[in-house]
Amino acid sequence: MAVDPRIIELINADIDGEISSDDKQELEALLAESPEAQAMHAELAGLGTSLNELPDLEPPAHLKHTIMASIPKSEAQQQRNNVIQAIFTSPPMRYAAMFALGSLVTMTLISSDQASNNAFNDVTGLVGTISSEVPVGPGIRSASIDRPEVAGHVTMRSSGPLLILDFDLVSSRPVDIVATYSDQTVWFNGFAQLESPGASISAESGRITMQVEGKRRYALFLHNAGERNVSINLEFQADGEVVYGTAVQFEQSGESGD
């Protein structure tokens, strides 16, 4: 026997906690007379309980930082960022930008008389872009970071002797990234950044330090003359304390895991 629409309405109001005291009394009286209505009430109440008990999920730790970092600071900066972002999202522009970066790095090296195999120290202000479309060699490694202080990804790619570390990060406060490597045949070969004016970076033999605050996209270029296996240790430091450490590795033989 079909359940009366009025009873259905009262049952739904009851399980939704939206029934008046008068309607509640009416429902109880109707339920007492109808086993079908009782069964429906029990079924819908069980369904409601199951829905209410679906677990609450915690948003990713870095989501709030990512959102805050995405909020435009000023229209002028937003316009500038849109142009740079377009470079990242358009493959032809990316290749062009890659070429421009190569020229920029070369000109900077030549003009500063540092076009040698030695590391140089002051590259502040060097701005370019990075390409994810370079031919990918063996031994690609990436690391994911998900800490309250800093979150995102670091990926290492290779193209011949060039190693490219792509940092796509967001931080809630200033975090120093210290990259170290022991192989003396590897040297610092350049740095590029997206939408991050005035990034701070220092490079010395076997050790490169960058700072990240807010949303940042960096690329670090290393020259691996012998195309040998290389391990780059990465430490993320906030207020002088290491909050996360990892390593990315380039291996001639192929990919490897942490």
Partner: protein
């Protein structure tokens, strides 16, 4: 408040979790829920001058969240894929037992009903909205809220029964 990052951050702290959970229950995918949550808050920030104070603030935020989730489904054509995917996961009664499976079955069943019906279920059972609040969020009469909830529950029961869970 537009341009006031500190005030916006306070809103973000308050609404990040409910918006993320609503998006997740609409999309059943954590990465999509993350992206939608980010889009929602950017829209909130950019459109604060369009907020009508005659309505409660949360209803405006939730409306953006549900609209973005539904638009995301339309854009990515995930809806159909999910319906097939979850339908395939139904299995027979012998595969289903216990509360955990009921929870998983419920999540799957939710993805099998139309997004309009899923939206009222999410507002009622995930976000804890009353009829009148749901009516405000979705801009539909309270009577329609009640009928959609009833139909949504009927459809959920049918899907759970098909999976041997009800």
């Amino acid at each position: 408040m537009k341009g006031d990052r500190r005030a916006f951050e306070a809103l973000l702290v308050k609404y990040e979790k409910p918006v993320y959970n609503a998006a997740y229950r609409m999309l059943h995918n954590r990465e999509d829920a993350r992206d939608v949550t980010q889009t929602v808050f950017l829209k909130v920030y950019e459109n604060l001058d369009q907020y009508n104070p005659a309505h409660r603030f949360f209803s405006w935020v939730y409306r953006i969240a549900l609209n973005e989730s539904i638009n995301w489904l339309k854009r990515s054509s995930r809806q159909e894929a999910l319906e097939h995917e979850t339908a395939d996961q139904g299995g027979g009664p012998e595969q289903q037992a216990g509360d955990q499976q009921l929870g998983e079955g419920m999540e799957a069943a939710l993805m099998m009903i139309k997004s309009d019906y899923r939206a009222v279920i999410v507002l009622k059972h995930v976000l804890g909205c009353s009829y009148i609040e749901i009516s405000e969020v979705l801009d539909i009469p309270e009577k329609t809220v009640k009928s959609r909830l009833y139909t949504a529950r009927q459809q959920l029961q049918e899907r759970l029964t098909e999976q041997g869970l009800h």
